[in-house]
Assembly symmetry: C2
Homo-oligomer: 225 residues x 2
């Protein structure tokens, strides 16, 4: 019992520890095994329909980091200093529409779903995407839906990192079109099957952040009893 | 060193432990302090621009759970059995547009940002929302953007739960319009300032899941070195 209280405390302290780190210590690199652990946290993340509509590009190349820096105002301190800098990409409609080859592969080869079950799931997936969530309403709706799933992986990476004392920063501060253009030129978008979602920098802080400011629990939680 | 390896192992095992629990043990309720800890994990989550564009409605009322069950095919087993059932709502454009009263309140009262800094941030927020992320392209774009942030909180709730042996299930399997209609009728949408994003059920499993199936790391990670 005392153990469990201490454990919860430790986890909440990790979530307090995590802050949007603007600049990292260039002399401290994340070890290969620790970074692999962070990637594993992404890999094990859940996603809608179990389709893992994501890709993680680890940008260690300084030339590409420089290119990104020109179009990412929110990553000015992080791109030059992060031990590891990750671009999290979302899969596009080519891969995420219910009848795509990608989903068929995911069901048959990754999840090992039997063929007859797979067919029934497709019927459900179609009505879910089309009728329940209106994902074909406009071009970006289904991409934003895949994007939501990438935020699950993003979060598990940051939280897993914080739990072992590694800092991170989630970054939306960039020109979306310009980043996609760079990635296209670098041949990283799998012929239009991927699109930029969110960036995440990892490393070790150089200075302590201000205390975390959040709304109170009563302000964000409502009970219907 | 051995400690750290054990710790990473324990965290990855928690992520393996977590699975989309379809049915919970009705005789086992999550303690008040444990559930408060799960809500704290949501509260401490980061969000774009730090605006916390979310609300968590804990549905313990059986009448409302019944109403939701009629329009949530993906929550048929969870709604009647979950110890705690949470609706995660996203804030709408009324609260998330750069010049909203909500963001002004968040900056001034929650983050305690000085007035002159606040004005500079608004300029940046406008260009971010309008030019970088094109959030005013269509009606749902800015709502989906807030929705992405809610997935950060969702993930931290599930992961924090798993770390102390509590099961959960993220749920998108529902008719979005029908759920919003119910919430509107129940007076839970703050006059159009909130909209349904995703559901999350918490409790204790009744049976062991199949082993987790995921793509291999090499399949989802690309290094640019």
């Amino acid at each position: 019992m005392a153990d469990m209280i201490a454990k919860k405390q430790e986890i909440l302290e990790s979530l307090e520890f995590r802050h949007a780190t603007k600049e990292f210590d260039q002399d401290k690199k994340i070890s290969e095994s620790d970074f692999r652990y962070i990637l594993e946290a992404a890999r094990l993340s859940p996603s809608s329909l179990g389709i893992e509509p994501w890709k993680f590009i680890v940008v260690q190349n300084s030339r590409l980091r420089e290119r990104l820096k020109e179009v990412a105002w929110g990553a000015q301190g992080q791109l030059p200093t992060a031990s590891h800098f990750v671009l999290i990409l979302a899969r596009t409609i080519k891969d995420t529409k219910y009848d795509s080859d990608y989903i068929a592969h995911q069901m048959k080869e990754v999840k090992k779903v039997p063929e007859e079950v797979h067919q029934g799931m497709l019927v459900r997936y179609r009505s879910f995407q089309e009728e329940d969530f209106h994902l074909f309403d406009n071009e970006r709706a289904i991409l934003d839906w895949a994007g939501k799933q990438t935020y699950i992986a993003l979060t598990n990476m940051m939280t897993a990192a914080a739990l072992i004392g590694i800092d991170s920063c989630p970054i939306e501060g960039f020109d979306m079109d310009a980043v996609n253009k760079i990635l296209e030129e670098e041949g990283l978008l799998e012929n239009g099957r991927l699109s930029m979602s969110v960036m995440a920098a990892f490393g070790y802080r150089v200075k302590e952040p201000r205390p975390k400011a959040r709304r109170q629990l009563d302000d964000i939680v409502q009970w219907v009893e």
